[in-house]
């Protein structure tokens, strides 16, 4: 395998590992019902911390 091939394989495996960890994290968070309402938007919908409007 060429050097470029080795580097590409390492990068790809890294990306796959990150994707795997991300999916695992999401699954754990969702099943625990923490931090995410689970609707798929990925945010805690109840906690709206936007500054809001000024009147």
């Amino acid at each position: 395998m060429t050097t470029s091939g080795i580097i590409q394989t390492i990068v790809v495996l890294g990306i796959v590992a990150v994707a795997l960890l991300y999916v695992l994290r999401q699954v754990i968070k969702t099943t625990r019902g923490k931090g995410d309402c689970g609707c798929g938007c990925g945010k805690d919908c109840k906690c709206n911390n936007k500054p809001g409007k000024e009147f």
């Binding site: 796959v16 019902g33 309402c37 689970g38 609707c39 919908c45 809001g52």
Partner: protein
């Protein structure tokens, strides 16, 4: 007290359409009776029979300007008499206000200025919340959209204030979960002010809740929402006098366009500022007998507020439980029971009816002084939208119209969405081709072209259809038609053992199962809740839509809208059958009664529909960039490794981890007409249903030759062949696959919601039950129905 003896007392369910009668009393006891009283079925109230639903049940009634749907069996609990019977006790009920000294409070004691929004369902709380905080919470022209508290912030005069949107409620009794939620929230969080939103066009019913809030002795401002509609109707309201009579600031508001928002907030801040000094709070005057009892009991338990003391007299179990921690608790309970008996004897009625009648009498008296109805105002039948209502709920036309509207929605999703879909498809094809040429061959190029572009691109192309579908749903919801759809099909729901309130979770379920499962919190009976929770996933959520769109477009050339609609209808049918089986076996229980309010027809606004559409589109894109991207990468890796030299792409993918996994489950899915790629796709769909399509995108891209890289997934599925040269897909396999996707177990997020709301046992049941149903239905279709066609 006078009883009218000249008129015959009859039951409401016997009254013909068009008849107006007066309520004498509501029979029975418990939650249903309480709810009817709260919604205005009080002694002397006039009620008009408007129409029967197309299937003869339920019946639409008008009371206090609201349209209420009651089944015949429920209306049979209301005794009525001829109109214009005299009920002197009602006329005498208004006895003004009493003043209570309220100690000064420091609004910043907990470092947060907190204002809570409270009002009847569908009075515009969330519209105001969104307007003030800049949030994008879901609003709809029907009650029950908000089931939880939502928090947001705004700034005024340099001060930062937290605004809390609470679920809509008709009262603060102990009978339904949303009532208890609001009551407990106020007790536990001590808001600095209540912002009570009332529908200015329906003051009599809305101000009933205001009378309860007044007793809580918390600074309060009343926002008269939908003020524009009141002005248009020609009615005149003396706001200043009504403010004086009720002892609370009142401000006109039109929340949907923001008119009056600043005035409402300024009034709220002024009220909070006043509470920093010792003030006099205004309460409803219930007459000397009850006022003396309140005073006497209040002295026995000085830590409790007037509202709780009144609830103790009313025999409210949650309020009585608070006495357990008091040293003189038993003494107070005995005294309260004595007082209750004396009041009931004196008024010759039960305590619930007495207090409700007095509150409504107070409101009626205040409005008699301040509200001048327009004598030339159109009668209800000629109000805008009402002539249309006669057509939409017509006995013979209502169901065909409902089906045609559904068909139109699905057909438009297909035909209008096809053009932008083609542009996106071309763009993705071009991108794949360009990267294919620009990058040297290698594993990284395979990941980007086959994994990321093939997977995410396959799902992304359906964004236009998702947007169009939600645009139409938003129009139907905002117009008030969705609640009419519930009215039309209520009898069917009743027959299958479903609760009328289940309609709202089902409706939300067409968008996403998670908020739909949470929306079942409004159901009082736990068995009703569980039946609804277990059947909601059969309402096809928007995440399954890309799979249907892909397969219908690829394998059905005609009647695409009809085919798509049939999938949704089969989901509804399976939900109904499941509900029948569950409610007659393991979840057997008496049918719960339910009063549904029919919202007025309103012109849907482009702004609202666009906001709804955009919020769904944003969620879809966010999912693309996160979970679907990650899942596509994993699926690609499982289909790419291990590598073997000298194999064709077909052999390579069949020998991959994914291929081995697919081959292992192939015997289970083969009787349904599925190959291993389809079997693997439904498995990966557990994370999110869109991943079914992205997995197919990855697996079929990997299988294709380099020259086909620019072909769309649709074309690849059309040309996919088995080793024997036969096509993998035909319309029968595609439909069988769609049935399986429709019915099999919900995604992880929905399962987690089921576990939270119903428990682990029911979540496990749901996984096995839905998968078994999906397998059996697909099997019957593929093996039996397909052979008959």
């Amino acid at each position: 007290m006078t009883e009218n003896n000249n008129n015959t007392i009859r039951l409401l369910d016997h009254e013909p359409v068009g008849q107006t009668v007066q309520v004498v009393r509501v029979m029975g006891d418990g939650a249903f009776r309480q709810r009817l009283l709260e919604m205005g079925f009080v002694r002397g109230a006039k009620v008009t029979v408007l129409k029967n639903a197309p299937l003869r049940d339920p019946v639409e009634y008008m009371i206090m300007g609201s349209h209420i749907s009651l089944r015949h069996s429920e209306a049979a609990q209301v005794e009525v008499t001829d109109r214009d019977a005299e009920f002197c006790d009602m006329e005498d009920a208004y006895q003004g206000i009493v003043e209570t000294e309220v100690a000064a409070v420091d609004p910043m004691a907990d470092n947060v200025l907190r204002v809570v929004l409270i009002g009847n369902p569908n009075c515009g709380k969330t519209s105001l919340f969104n307007n003030v905080t800049g949030a994008r919470e879901k609003v709809g022209n029907y009650g029950g959209v908000t089931v939880d508290s939502k928090e947001g912030w705004f700034s005024i005069g340099g001060r930062r204030v937290q605004l809390v949107d609470l679920p809509g409620t008709y009262s603060l009794t102990e009978y339904s979960p949303e009532e208890m939620y609001v009551r407990t929230y106020i007790r536990d969080n001590h808001p600095d002010a209540i912002l009570n939103i009332v529908d200015a066009g329906n003051l009599e019913r809305n101000l009933y809740l205001t009378t309860q809030l007044m007793d809580m002795n918390i600074p309060m401002v009343v926002a008269l929402n939908m003020w524009d509609e009141l002005e248009k109707s020609g009615d005149r309201l003396d706001i200043e006098m009504l403010s004086r009579l009720l002892g609370a600031r009142m401000v006109p508001l039109t929340a949907y366009n923001g008119h009056g928002v600043k005035d409402v907030l300024e009034a709220t801040m002024a009220t909070i500022d006043e509470s920093e000094q010792e003030t006099k709070h205004h309460n409803v005057n219930y007459g000397s007998l009850i006022e003396d009892s309140l005073k006497q009991l209040g002295e026995m338990c000085p830590t409790l507020d007037r509202y709780t003391v009144l609830k103790i007299i009313e025999n409210d179990q949650h309020a009585i439980e608070l006495l357990d921690s008091q040293s003189n608790g038993l003494e107070v309970k005995i005294a309260a029971a004595d007082m209750r008996q004396r009041i009931e004897r004196d008024y010759n009625s039960d305590i619930t009816s007495i207090i409700t009648d007095l509150k409504y009498g107070f409101v009626r008296g205040a409005l008699a002084e301040t509200l001048t109805p327009n004598p030339e105002r159109a009668i209800e039948d000629t109000k805008p939208g009402y002539s249309m209502d006669r057509l939409l709920t017509n006995r013979w036309l209502a169901l065909p119209i409902l089906l045609v509207l559904m068909w139109l929605m699905f057909e438009a999703t297909f035909t209008l969405g096809a053009y932008p879909q083609e542009w996106i498809e071309n763009g993705i094809g071009w991108l794949g081709e360009w990267i294919g040429k620009a990058m040297p061959d290698g594993i990284l190029k395979d990941l980007i072209v086959d994994g990321i572009i093939g997977g995410v691109g396959g799902v992304l192309v359906f964004l236009p259809q998702i947007l169009i579908l939600f645009f139409f749903i938003s129009l139907l919801e905002d117009s008030g038609y969705m609640a009419r759809a519930a009215f039309i099909v209520d009898r069917v729901m009743h027959r299958v053992g479903l609760h009328g309130k289940s309609f709202i979770p089902y409706l939300i379920g067409f968008g996403c199962g998670v908020p739909a499962i949470m929306a079942t919190r409004t159901l009082e009976n736990r068995r009703d809740r569980i039946v609804t929770i277990l059947t909601v996933p059969f309402m096809s959520c928007s995440a399954r839509l890309p799979a249907y769109l892909l397969l219908v477009a690829a394998f059905f050339t005609a009647n695409q809208g009809l085919i798509l609609m049939s999938i949704y209808l089969i989901g509804i049918l399976i939900a109904a059958l499941t509900a029948i089986v569950l409610s007659k076996t393991i979840l057997k229980h008496d049918k719960t009664q339910f009063v549904m309010e029919l919202p007025p027809y309103r012109k849907p606004t482009a702004r609202n529909a666009t906001i709804h559409m955009w919020s769904k589109g944003k969620q879809y894109l966010q999912k693309m960039a996160t979970i679907i991207l990650a899942a596509s990468i994993i699926v690609w890796a499982l289909g790419y490794f291990p590598r073997h030299d000298g194999q064709t792409p077909q052999e390579q993918i069949e020998n991959s981890y994914m291929g081995q996994m697919g081959k292992a489950i192939e015997p289970i899915v083969a009787p349904l007409g599925f190959n291993w790629q389809m079997g693997v796709s439904v498995l990966t769909g557990a994370a999110a249903k869109e991943i079914v399509v992205s997995t197919m995108g990855v697996l079929y891209t990997g299988e294709s030759d380099a020259t086909e890289e620019s072909a769309s997934l649709k074309e690849k599925l059309q040309t996919a062949t088995k080793p024997n040269g036969e096509h993998v897909f035909d319309p029968i396999v595609a439909y069988s696959f769609m049935l399986f996707i429709l019915l099999y177990f919900p995604c992880i997020a929905a399962l987690a919601a089921i576990r939270r709301e119903a428990g682990t046992k029911w979540m496990v049941f749901e996984i096995f039950y839905t998968t078994a149903v999906a397998w059996i239905v697909s099997f019957i279709f593929y093996q039996v129905v397909a052979r008959l066609i």
